[in-house]
Symmetry: C2
Subunit: 277 residues, 2 copies
């Protein structure tokens, strides 16, 4: 026990990337007061590998005297059967919902290997996602303002308010082509939308951030610089927020939000269809 929390070993086991098992296991475990140690074992597709995995789980059980928690997703019955012989608590992350769905739909499932996160599932959508990452990289940080007709969204804001990670997340996760453009010190005297962006203002969204947080982030990059000073940060934020209001550009304060939350809110604001891959 640490911090009064019970300790448990957790395994994520899958015949694919194990990303689904991890995502769900994380979310479920977050509800319990547990101190956990996690191991992810992807691509468990053969009985040999299954025996190895069973061995790892049993070893933890012997070491700790506690049954490990195993979140798993395995299609092949002979592989699954071996793993389920381990001394552990098992949570079948897919089947737990496949069963009720089967009943509700009156349809039989067709279990397939490599279901999630494989190219074969949907090659066109995968290629589109990779193209979106490339477009977004080429349009990061104001580097290029060409081909804005192809942009799904254009993010505006001061330097270091979260534009780049948000753009990349939108591209990687949702296949969104995101442009981002920073307003810098030279823009401040007479702040306006760049003329290349003007025709696409309907795609623009602003990001802003609290002064304290911006100072802290800039300080980490350039300690004790004018760039990180309270005066500079306040000035930039005030002017850029005025621009957003003047131009009726919807904007979002990123101070307490993760890239997932910023991205999700932008998709809501923009009405862009999210197509998770």
């Amino acid at each position: 026990m640490e911090n009064g929390k019970e300790y448990r070993d957790v395994f994520y086991v899958s015949d694919g990337t194990a990303i689904t098992s991890e995502t769900l296991g994380h979310a479920v475990l977050g509800q319990f007061p547990l101190q956990i140690s996690q191991t992810t074992l992807p691509f468990v597709e053969t009985t040999d590998r299954a025996e190895h995995v069973k061995g790892l789980i049993d070893k933890k059980h012997q070491q700790t005297g506690q049954k490990p928690l195993v979140f798993f997703s395995i299609v092949l019955p002979e592989v699954k059967a071996i793993i389920e012989q381990a001394n552990a608590h098992f949570y079948d992350v897919l089947n737990v919902l496949v069963e009720p769905l089967k009943k509700d739909l009156g349809l039989e499932p067709h279990p397939q290997l490599h279901r999630s996160h494989s190219i074969e599932k949907d090659a066109a959508s995968y290629q589109n996602r990779i193209a979106a990452v490339e477009y977004t990289l080429a349009h990061d940080d104001g580097v290029s303002l060409n081909n804005l007709d192809q942009a799904d969204i254009i993010l505006l804001g001061v330097s270091r308010c979260g534009k780049t990670p948000t753009s990349l997340y939108l591209a990687m996760q949702f296949g969104i082509r995101a442009v981002n453009y920073p307003f810098i010190e030279d823009d401040m005297a007479s702040l306006k939308l760049p003329k290349e962006i003007e025709p696409y203002r309907f795609k623009t969204f602003g990001l802003t951030i609290d002064t304290e947080r911006l100072m802290a982030i800039r300080h980490e990059r350039y300690a004790n610089s004018d760039y990180a000073s309270q005066q500079q940060c306040e000035k930039e934020l005030n002017r850029v927020e005025s621009l957003f209001r003047r131009e009726a550009i919807p904007y979002l304060n990123t101070t307490t939000l993760s890239v997932e939350e910023i991205s999700t809110r932008l998709l809501e604001l923009s009405g862009l269809k999210r197509s998770m891959w």
Copy 2:
């Protein structure tokens, strides 16, 4: 019905980003022969918004005469109660596993809003992830070979074999600091590891790809160029693969793999701890 598949409307509803509901719903639905139309409704935190969501679901039911499928995760009982009055099939993506876990552990869950994908959950790990994205961007495509001591992994390969999207995915998803370096035509005459990388060769991994696929990808960028020719692609791939073998650098063929699969395999090969955020 289309392609002989039954049609269903699907909703992902959450008081957070809805990413967990989408991930699991996708994986589960992938097992059934369904033609689906999906709507994601994040940040459903109030009874007002819940009424709106209930309305949307009921409207689909009236239009199609089929009960929509609703994958949801909602903590507040009064919000949840409203949504569950809609005319639909419901799948509570978290509770379906929280219940058995509760029994197995003999512990009471402490449901919390904004569980997954929020900064508050683990600020240090979030900052680390964003720092990894920045490091990775700064070290994309051989732009910088400075600070390689801070790299978790160094990816090598010919131009357009998947290094950049893989690096960004590793950073964004797993907080891995990834460097990638392309071998270009000028390197081909006497191919060797760059001297800056030599001391960190224990962190290097190669990516390779089938000639046909590389030609297709390059052709899309520069149609009918030497760069995209069979001769050039074959030459580069042969030489780079020889280098990998000569230098005993583990490598992976990316032809049929998604960035998720490449990343997961690299983590396995490298023994890097994956810490999904």
